[in-house]
Symmetry: C2
Subunit: 413 residues, 2 copies
């Protein structure tokens, strides 16, 4: 008997029929003798519907009240799933984030979990009751409702697994695991049985949107065994093994050099040309960007010449116009020569912990792209990934040739 | 400066545009220097949508979980209204029932309010913040969410007014007050400036659905000044005076004999024929009906003859089939001769505290109906009302002739 936390996303609970399927899947695990805590998202489309309603009232909705409105999405799902489980004769009880309680700070719309009171859940589990918890939400110390930001239901699942010391946290999605790259682009893409925590972090942040990055960080911090599974199959049949996210450092020999090719097409780049090459310039440029709550992804500053340098960074494409406007203001202050930008770019990355012990991965990446005539606009590297920015029209081609170059279409030994 | 509790129903907050109108109306009262607590229902249609979702999962949804689902309706509205008030530059803060807290028993879907913690609201009001509270919902002592039953938002409004010792509780609806009868049936119907608490109770329970009966009882118990007003006019203009519900006993001279003609077309009658005329028979018949959670309205038992009697009662039309089935079971047990029923009936009532001091109202009622050839099937009277059950095809005619017979179309002196 194990204690398992399962998380089902919006698509998995997108209709009463699908909620009944989730209930059947949960019931099957329960029949096998496991204790179950089930975290659910809002039904697909519901959070967007609520945000749209709010925006009809306020173009930029008050964050505290937006959280009050958004938190209802998951609250509907927990009630419906509890009903579906009772309908098949099981004991189940729903909890909102505030009821659990999932204690957070008061950073509305992007709150951080501070702690979880697990006593009530523990008592339910001990008497055979299935615990249903609303994902994405919590409550601050003054009793205000908070939400954790998009994808926060994954974080709720992992946080509950950590608090309850669960044996496994299962994230059910519409894919049956983590792939070497997106199969819609490369049909030969393969499911990985395991992927390391660090690789998963790079994959998630690079746009393989299987798991919310924060939840992976959380899982790493609290050593939660995390598994990605598909909720699309017959709920009465055992699902495939999915992909297990591992935290142990395996020996380099066992690791593939590259685990996957990640990409993100929602990027835009901005460059401040000819700024003085002096200390503090990065802060002067990125400070105002951060103050406007714009997330910056890659940041590149090359060695200067003539006492000036060029400073580039990428942002989410939806923030491009705002970022450009801010730079136009900053320009005079930092005495830059000009501002340049391009919102028709994308980022492609090769990710793998094996990279650490294998030199030459970077040059192989660049050569592979060069042979296809793909111009590299920006390069950024870490211990376990190489990212390049290229024109968005080359996205699919770049992913395909890199996937093949690193033998990802071939089953590992 | 007064402390005013306002309640806006589902139609008044049925769209973002209407919520903005409510905000303008609230803002106008706030500008006049009043402290405001605003109670809101779910947006019109939302509660039914949520119940329909639940019924797709369970034909008879689990009450605890149904409350979890239904409570989201009002939660969305409070967030949106708080946003709308902030958008026009006012300080506002939303509270769910659990946040206030509105403490109830644990009778899910029809909980009773046990108490209200008003400290947080008081602090907000003292610093000029408008308090927005979700109607219809509360929390039991174990932290479970509860709802108060249909129309419970009125009860929330009155209960808050009582707890805060508010100067007035204003119930905004889509009519501008309480009328002598439904103007759709009698165009000459007039708005009443005042109506006594007892008359309002009879009107509400008889189907003039302006106010939820429980809220009127509550207002009577705690002497809350209750006013029915329209939310349909220009929100920036002073609304009409509506109808004030009074609790003081006025001298009979000031009272009109009859204040209004109420009716209810959702009735069905059932009769148990030829039951033994002995003690306990009413309980044997109505006990199983009550256990099935069927509300009984009129109950009539005439003097018996030959040792047997006939026992009749009315129920909501939607409960007719279930009640009939129960009686067929009861029939043998109480050795009744037969069961009869009719779900094509309606109830029409003349209501007025002046009736107490004016004999002859009953006979005038019966004569008026007889002159139109309307057969009376059942009669029930109280201190301040006379109700008759007639064939539903006579509903409009009966209401019209009684309205005219009691001079309700003529303005009072």
């Amino acid at each position: 008997m194990a204690l398992i936390v399962q998380k089902y996303g919006g698509t998995s609970v997108g209709s009463p029929e699908r909620i009944k399927n989730v209930a059947r899947r949960v019931a099957r695990w329960h029949r096998q003798g496991h204790q179950l805590v089930v975290v659910v998202s809002a039904m697909s489309g519901e959070t967007n519907r609520l945000i749209a309603l709010a925006k009809e009232i306020q173009a930029s909705p008050d964050p505290r009240e937006l959280d009050v409105v958004m938190a209802t999405g998951e609250q509907v799902t927990i009630g419906l799933l509890a009903m579906a489980l009772k309908e098949v004769g099981l004991s189940a009880r729903s909890y909102t984030g505030a009821q659990v309680r999932i204690r957070t700070d008061n950073a509305y719309t992007k709150a951080r979990i501070l702690g979880i009171d697990e006593q009530a859940m523990r008592a339910d589990l001990d008497n055979g009751t299935i615990v249903i918890v609303a994902g994405f939400q919590g409550v601050d110390q003054d009793g205000n409702l908070t939400t954790l930001g998009r994808g926060g239901s994954d974080t709720t699942g992992v946080a509950l697994a950590a608090a309850l010391k669960a044996d496994e946290c299962q994230i059910y999605t519409d894919v049956d695991g983590v792939y070497t790259t997106d199969p819609r682009i490369v049909p030969e893409a393969r499911r990985l049985d395991t992927v390391t925590f660090e690789e998963m972090l790079e994959m998630a942040s690079l746009g393989s949107k299987v798991l919310q990055i924060r939840s992976v960080e959380f899982a790493g911090k609290y050593k939660v065994k995390l598994r990605v599974l598909s909720s699309l199959g017959d709920p009465d049949e055992l699902e495939g093994p999915g992909t297990l996210i591992t935290f142990e450092e395996a020996s380099p020999m066992e690791q593939p050099i590259i685990s996957g090719i990640a990409f993100n097409r929602d990027e835009a780049k901005l460059t401040v040309l000819g700024v003085p090459d002096r200390p503090g310039i990065a802060y002067q440029i990125l400070g105002p960007i951060a103050e406007a709550n714009i997330d910056v992804d890659m940041i590149i500053q090359n060695v200067g010449h003539d006492g000036t340098t060029d400073f580039s960074f990428t942002v989410n494409r939806s923030d491009y116009a705002r970022a450009l406007a801010i730079l136009e203001q900053v320009k005079q202050h930092v005495t830059a020569r000009a501002i340049a930008g391009d919102n028709k770019i994308c980022k492609v990355s090769a990710v793998g912990v094996g990279m650490r012990s294998h030199p030459g991965i970077a040059s192989k990446t660049f050569r592979t792209l060069a042979e296809e005539g793909i111009n590299i606009q920006m390069i950024s590297t870490s211990e376990i990934k190489i990212s390049v920015v290229v024109d968005e029209k080359y996205l699919e081609l770049a992913v395909r040739v890199l996937h093949k170059a690193f033998d990802l279409d071939k089953a590992s030994a």
